[in-house]
């Protein structure tokens, strides 16, 4: 039986995938004064995937993205982005890197058009067709000055500036938090298109999990600065489930000793369990052991989130 919870979080990147990985972190620790934002994080992001970076507020997601983009030198450890130490990213790497920030600082006095032209002048691969399509899809008026834009529109500007050069590695830090559902849908479709056409690696950090779930195929989860999950999303969907045990014979136990049971709710005769296991017989064995009727249901990402991002605390 596979060990639950922390077992899937690698303590070091797999060496065979590290070479192909667009971002490799080795024992990264980042401190801000007394606060530790990231603690000994080792990770190799798989290439050509859309990776969901999950974690509660303050888990270290933005810090991780900033280190990967070379904006922040880590306190200790090494980060390699697109084959180069992240602190030494230069033109060849930066032309293939895109970063969309939650609260980006732009040249506020410029119009959207001016800013797009300004950024475009640095990228030989700037795609004007893509820019035009995104402007229409995101419903952004290029004649408006950035200082006059709403937070949502500023976020759209960030998306345009971060993606129109068709990056091979796109880091998205809360890119959809201020967007309406229609624009969100269009943006996610675009990300899928980018992956399909260019084979780009996209890392998306977001709390709008219903949307993220539709596009991600890999999950990385952080909990208070530590890596707690780094797995394919399919595998997580197969292993996380909700089991409802209904016993007509007698009371069910208040706690279950099985290690794959992560939480229990319900009453004495009906227990709703959140479990993590890939053992297909485990459900039947549990039902038989407690002489109960069992119904199973897979969990969506929204329901998985507290189980993924609370693993250390729950274990403690």
């Amino acid at each position: 039986m596979p060990s639950p919870a922390l077992a899937s979080a690698p303590s070091a990147p797999a060496t065979d995938t590290a070479d192909a990985s667009p971002v490799v972190l080795r024992s990264i620790t980042q401190r801000f004064g007394k606060h530790t934002a990231l603690s000994d994080v080792s990770l190799a992001l798989p290439a050509g995937r859309i990776i969901g970076l999950l974690g509660r507020n303050g888990a270290g997601k933005t810090t991780l993205l900033h280190i990967a983009a070379g904006l922040l030198p880590p306190t200790s450890g090494d980060c390699t982005t697109l084959g180069t130490p992240s602190g030494k990213l230069d033109t060849p790497q930066l032309t293939r890197l895109g970063l969309v920030q939650q609260e980006g600082r732009y040249l506020e006095w410029m119009t959207v058009r001016q800013h797009l032209d300004f950024n475009a002048s640095f990228y030989p691969s700037w795609d004007r067709d893509l820019e035009k399509r995104l402007l229409e899809a995101l419903e952004l008026d290029p004649k408006r000055k950035i200082v006059q834009l709403s937070p949502g529109d500023r976020q759209k500007v960030g998306i345009l500036l971060g993606t129109c050069h068709r990056p091979a590695l796109l880091l998205l830090d809360e890119p959809i938090s201020s967007l309406d559902p229609i624009v969100r849908r269009r943006l996610l479709d675009f990300l899928l298109e980018l992956l399909r056409d260019d084979g780009a690696t996209v890392v998306i950090s977001s709390h709008i999990l219903n949307d993220v779930e539709k596009i991600v195929d890999w999950i990385v989860a952080l909990e208070t600065g530590e890596l707690v999950e780094n797995s394919p999303f399919d595998l997580l969907q197969e292993s996380y489930a909700e089991w409802t045990l209904t016993s007509a014979a007698g009371a069910l136990p208040a706690t279950f000793a099985e290690p794959f049971v992560l939480s229990r709710q319900g009453d004495a005769h009906q227990a709703v369990l959140h479990v993590r296991t890939t053992d297909t017989d485990a459900a039947a064995r549990l039902a038989a052991a407690h002489r109960a009727e069992l119904r199973t249901r897979p969990l969506n990402l929204d329901e998985m989130f507290p189980l993924l991002t609370d693993q250390r605390r729950r274990r403690a």
Binding site: P73, L94, R105, L107, E108, F122, S150, P151
Partner: protein, 516 residues
């Protein structure tokens, strides 16, 4: 980075106009009029010293705008491109200045001229753009020291030294340029700038937007930098409310209002520093303009001691050199009113999200604005008093209270006029044309009045502003002033109540973008 992108960033027309007017207008007045330099000296020193520094500042500002944002680290080759284009711009204006000095007619070695131009153009690259009081005072001190070097004694020394050791000047200038270019564009400094706490905007950014855009940009800059300053103070703990439960008293809610604006930052520090800094350039103008006025028709300008003597004599009621004090009073008045209205605008038109009734909010806002106006008026009064006292003591005259006869009119007039201005802001907040029209009118009056005073002085007519100042301190004048101040308070109270009764609290200026 293409030339077009660089020009978009630079805004060459605005840069040329702004830098040109500062360098050749203010610089010529500083060297030629206040410094008493000859025509040849003025042309040469302005082109070799003042203009390079001013153009260096204006050319590097847009580059620093980019450097102070993360996008500079993300744009491929941004550092090299910015350095390349900046060097091109510096080389262009540097060559023009160097060629210009050839026609000045001053015996000044070319090598020394080149050294001065090199150092002047590149020195502003080291500017850190930290809006902290210490950094701003340091900049002010450096500029003042530079201006002092243009006066007769130091200027003569400078010319003699340049003639004696021209190659030393060139070597020093080249070394300075190399150092500034290396440090201004090094990777480490770039990273430090991009992680900088504050939003940096160049003067060109404000000069090239519409009046509405100017207000929006200014509001964005103020609110962002205040937010970032508060966030940086001693970690997150200091941002928390530490006064305990908030009662219903006026005092409690005034404290809350202050906290929403400045966080836990020191009230006195925040209140003092901004107007102090805004008024310093104004008083510098107030010193230069009278000198300019009095110098017309004379040769060689005034010495510093003469300027102090004239200022001291003119401060007393009925004193001579009346244009000097008239302009000082006018600048004090304009600076005081504009400082109060600028600060009041920031208080009045920030989004309000407090759990408080609208009528109570208007009540609190009224007292907050009164407190703000009174504090700033007192600061302006103190500044004028210090200026007049310093001028008197430096000129060797005895100190007496009579010195403040005319300057005392400034704070007495500032308060009611500023309160009326704030009331106008409240009453017209919803109408952009009326609000901007008011600003335009005030700007026209502010710019036109010195001209009227100068014209009156040239015709040897009695100056209206001095008649006003002399009249203020009479019993009748004080009574009228008291009544006017009371009426202004009442009007402000009514205007605030009317404004807060129906305004959109999340967007007090409805014609502005909701969250610019």
């Amino acid at each position: 980075m293409t030339l077009r992108a660089y020009l978009t960033l630079l805004r060459p027309v605005a840069t040329l106009l702004l830098a040109g007017s500062y360098a050749f207008g203010f610089g010529a007045a500083l060297v030629g009029v206040f410094g008493g330099a000859s025509r040849a000296e003025t042309i040469h020193l302005v082109l070799a010293l003042v203009a390079p520094v001013v153009f260096g500042i204006f050319l590097v500002s847009p580059v620093h705008e980019v450097m102070h944002r993360e996008l500079c680290l993300l744009l491929p080759g941004a550092r090299r491109a910015l350095r390349r284009w900046h060097l091109t711009a510096l080389a262009t204006v540097g060559t023009l200045f160097f060629v210009g000095t050839e026609f000045s007619g001053l015996a000044f070695p070319r090598a020394a001229t080149l050294g001065l131009i090199l150092a002047g153009l590149t020195f502003p690259l080291l500017d850190k753009h930290a809006p902290t009081p210490a950094a701003l005072f340091l900049k002010g001190g450096l500029l003042a020291a530079g201006a002092a070097c243009l006066r007769h004694g130091p200027r003569t020394l400078l010319i003699e030294a340049a003639n004696a050791q021209p190659w030393l000047f060139l070597a020093a200038g080249a070394l300075c340029a190399a150092f500034c270019l290396r440090h201004g564009f090094c990777d480490e400094k770039l990273r430090a700038r991009s992680r900088g706490r504050y939003v940096v905007l160049s003067v060109q950014s404000f000069a090239t937007v519409s009046p509405t855009g100017f207000l929006e940009l200014n509001r964005y800059l103020l609110s962002e930098n205040i937010r970032r300053t508060c966030a940086s103070r001693n970690g997150s703990d200091s941002r928390n409310w530490t006064r305990g439960p908030v009662g219903s008293s006026l005092r409690d809610w005034l404290a809350v209002l202050h906290h929403t604006r400045f966080g836990a930052a020191g009230r006195i520090g925040q209140l003092l520093i901004m107007p102090l800094l805004t008024s310093l350039p104004g008083f510098a103008c107030a010193l230069v303009l009278p000198a300019f006025l009095q110098t017309k028709g004379t040769q060689g300008g005034f010495s510093f001691a003469e300027t102090c003597t004239r200022l001291s004599e003119a401060s007393r009621a009925g004193g001579e050199h009346t244009a000097t004090i008239a302009l000082l009073l006018l600048f004090g008045l304009l600076i005081g009113i504009s400082a109060i209205i600028t600060q009041a605008r920031a208080v009045l038109f920030q989004p309000q999200r407090l759990p408080i009734a609208r009528s109570h909010l208007a009540h609190c806002m009224f007292f907050e604005l009164l407190r703000l106006s009174a504090s700033l008026t007192a600061i302006v009064a103190a500044e004028i008093a210090v200026l007049v006292t310093a001028a008197t003591l430096l000129s060797g005259h005895p100190f007496s209270l009579a010195l403040f006869a005319r300057p005392a009119a400034v704070p007495l007039l500032t308060l009611p006029l500023a309160l009326l201005g704030i009331a106008y802001l409240c009453l017209t907040a919803r109408s952009r044309p009326l609000l901007l029209g008011g600003f335009l009118l005030a700007f026209t009056i502010g710019c036109g009045t010195p001209g009227i005073i100068i014209a009156q002085a040239e015709k040897h007519e009695s100056l209206f502003i001095l008649r006003l100042a002399d009249a203020v301190l009479t019993p009748n004048g004080l009574a009228i002033l008291f009544a006017t101040t009371a009426a202004a308070c009442a009007l402000l109270w009514l205007a605030l109540r009317r404004h807060f009764r129906t305004c959109d609290l999340s967007r007090p200026l409805p014609w502005m973008a909701r969250t610019a």
